[in-house]
């Protein structure tokens, strides 16, 4: 199972220089590579190994995830409002699969 259903909760409109919270979730088994299947074979590692948040194409926050992150990794973080534009969220899986999501953001003058 590859998973990869991203969800993001972020305000659509914020005041200038306001620091707002962004909450993200993606469905993913985060297989550690330490478990065995019932036949005794090692289940290969398959995790989301990287998360990036870009704000108008500038990286504002990123995470390197390792095996001890829970399945369906949840991340809450903060962003300071600059210009109106878009927030991009990028999850990268072992093996190169990429899941992305975009949110428009309006900054009140």
């Amino acid at each position: 199972m590859a998973g990869g259903q991203p969800r993001v909760q972020a305000p659509g409109e914020v005041a200038k220089d306001e620091v707002f919270e962004v909450r993200t979730l993606i469905t993913h088994p985060m297989e550690t590579g330490l478990r065995h299947d019932p036949a005794g074979h090692l289940i290969p590692r398959n995790i989301i190994n990287s998360f990036t948040c870009r704000y108008n194409d500038v990286v504002v926050f990123s995470v390197d995830l390792h095996e001890p992150m829970s399945a369906n990794p949840y991340l809450s973080f903060h962003v300071r409002a600059g210009q109106s534009g878009r927030l991009q969220f990028i999850w990268e899986e072992d093996g190169g699969a990429v899941f992305t999501l975009e949110k428009p953001i309006t900054v009140a003058a």
Partner: protein, 180 residues
């Protein structure tokens, strides 16, 4: 401290002996005093040993932590009250333990948190995640959920923009161990 206590005990015994001498007109070694003295010395000794034991234990743990941090981040980290590791002290399910990391920082270009490294030393795989911040992050604060293989002290090391490393820690007891 132990020295002082023994000294006090000795002084007290001497004082009592002198009072005794004045009362009876002779210096008499009362068995009771000697017993009290012996008991006090023994107690002080035991207390001192416990202190030494606890001290050595904490020092050992601190040294092991520092060694781990040195190995994983490539340098020493200073324990700091600015790094808050918020985790429930007891949590039922080790597969998904909620955790909040906050580092008190103005998050300006000149003074911000670059990275927070999160470690679970009791897991088969110790590094949990690295969170990379920028001044545009606004706040060095994240919340997530992690797996813990057993009850343990979780360690967070914050790398600041001036190159310093601050450390925070929190102990968490998990009832059901999560395969990490």
């Amino acid at each position: 401290m132990v020295q002082q206590r023994i000294g006090f005990g000795y002084g007290e015994v001497l004082g009592r002996l002198l009072v005794e001498k004045r009362k009876h007109g002779l210096l008499r070694f009362s068995g009771g005093y000697m017993q009290a003295y012996a008991r006090r010395t023994l107690l002080c000794g035991a207390f001192g040993s416990v202190l030494f034991w606890a001290g050595a234990d904490a020092a050992d743990e601190g040294a092991a932590e520092q060694e781990l941090v040195q190995r994983l981040v490539g340098g020493p980290a200073v324990p700091s009250p600015l790094v808050h590791v918020q985790i429930p002290p007891v949590f039922g399910n080790g597969y998904s333990v909620p955790l909040t990391l906050i580092v008190d920082s103005p998050m300006t270009t000149a003074d911000h948190v670059r990275t927070i490294h999160l470690f679970a030393p009791g897991n088969p795989i110790i590094p949990v995640a690295n969170f990379r911040f920028t001044p545009q992050s606004g706040r060095a604060a994240i919340a997530t959920r992690i797996r813990l293989a057993k009850s343990q002290t979780v360690i967070a090391v914050a790398e600041m923009s001036d190159g310093s490393r601050l450390m925070g820690r929190a102990f968490v007891k998990v009832d059901i161990d999560g395969c990490a």
